[in-house]
């Protein structure tokens, strides 16, 4: 589970890029989310913890290429995210040439209104923006399309 978004597994997030299991050890390729994300160390530790009962050495290789994108997040993951109160990424990771583009229409995870406004591009973690719903007034996190 992601330590910052405890409803999402690393599979929901699309972080697991490769798994190789042999009789003698386990090799995992894990995509880092944001370059400086402090949760990555915790995620690596929890993977080791979860695999410890198998009694095999675990080798985790960070795979920066191709770069992680929210497009790899599973549909089930997006539903879980919304149920948890975080609006899931809208659309596909855009071509980053469309820089300084207007922000997307984000649906309020609480009352499902589309009448929401961006408060801050950076929220409680690097992967989220802060929005507020204009219908129910509730502030909420939006998982950025990345």
């Amino acid at each position: 589970m992601d330590p910052e978004v405890p409803v999402l597994s690393i599979v929901d997030l699309g972080l697991v890029r490769s798994v190789q299991v042999s009789n003698s050890d386990i090799h995992l390729g894990i995509a880092p989310t944001y370059t400086g994300c402090p949760a990555m160390d915790v995620i690596h530790d929890r993977i080791r913890e979860a695999l410890a009962p198998l009694g095999l050495p675990v080798h985790i290789k960070p795979e920066i290429h191709p770069p992680w994108t929210t497009d790899w997040m599973s549909e089930a993951g997006k539903k879980k995210l919304e149920a948890y109160g975080i609006a899931p990424p809208v659309g596909k990771a855009s071509d980053k040439r469309s820089l300084w583009a207007p922000s997307p229409t984000v649906r309020c995870p609480r009352c499902k209104s589309d009448n929401t406004a961006l408060i801050s591009l950076f929220g409680s973690t690097a992967c989220k923006s802060l929005y507020q719903c204009r219908s129910c007034d509730e502030p909420f996190d939006y998982f950025k399309c990345f």
């Binding site: 370059t35 400086g36 770069p67 990771a93 980053k96 591009l121 950076f122 690097a126 802060l130």
Partner: protein, 254 residues
């Protein structure tokens, strides 16, 4: 020291790393001092991305140097003259407008630099750039929005941001004047010719200034030297604060 005589590729990777680390360190100082909580968190997020990026570059440089060199050696045990970050990145934070003006110039440059680095002949640099540009496009959007907000804001915010932009303009010019470190990288195919990035950059800067209802900038006389290791006096103070712990306890671990 083994990094004083490094080859052009390692020198170039260190140059990229130094920009990210020094600016990341500068922005970190805003933690707990932002004007409101959301903006405090935003700048800290940008700082975190930059320091994460610095780690990618230093890690790569350490591999190129070999001989047991680590990213920490490169960040904490090199002296000011060995750092080749741009002067812009080391300038003091000043007030909120100063920090955002500096950030606006750098983020916009950084975006075009990373875009160009995706054509690098070096695969690792291409991969790092492809990852970092996603983060940088958010940084650039954030700083540009603040320029618009302050320029098209109150009389006071407008006057302050105008002064901040004027103050940093001569430092920004160094971004596009090749020094040995980036000229060699271009000759060898690792990095872009920075002088060709200038027109895209100026066009983007100008388009944001127009939205911000600010007049075009007079660029002034370039202030340069950082890329050659000749820094402003601020650099030594940054290193003193950033490196003192690692130098006092060289074998310490968390």
């Amino acid at each position: 020291m083994k990094w004083d005589t490094c080859d052009p590729k390692t020198a170039y990777v260190l140059h990229l790393a130094d920009d990210a680390l020094i600016l990341g360190q500068r922005l970190s100082a805003w933690c707990g001092h932002g004007p409101i909580l959301e903006q405090d968190i935003a700048l800290t997020n940008v700082a975190l991305d930059l320091i994460g990026l610095a780690r990618q570059y230093y890690g790569y440089a350490a591999e190129l140097i070999g001989d047991g060199c680590t990213e920490n050696d490169l960040a904490f045990f090199r002296d000011s003259r060995a750092f080749t970050n741009h002067l812009l990145c080391e300038q003091p934070n000043g007030h909120w407008g100063d920090t955002l003006a500096r950030q606006f110039f750098f983020d916009t440059f950084h975006f075009f630099q990373l875009e160009a680095l995706q054509q690098s002949s070096d695969e690792r640099l291409r991969h790092i750039a492809a990852k970092a540009i996603k983060e940088t496009s958010y940084h650039a959007q954030f700083s540009a929005e603040w320029i618009i907000r302050m320029g098209d804001g109150t009389e006071e915010s407008r006057s302050k941001i105008t002064q901040s932009l004027r103050h940093f303009a001569p430092f920004a010019l160094e971004l596009f004047i090749p020094a040995q470190v980036d000229a060699a990288a271009h000759d060898l195919g690792f990095g872009p010719d920075v002088s060709v990035l200038e027109s895209d950059w100026k066009e983007k800067i100008q388009s944001i200034l127009t939205i911000a209802t600010l007049s075009p900038l007079e660029w002034g006389f370039p202030k340069k030297g950082g890329k050659s290791g000749v820094h402003s006096e601020h650099h030594g103070y940054i290193l003193a604060e950033m490196q003192s712990l690692a130098r006092a306890y060289p074998d310490a671990t968390w």
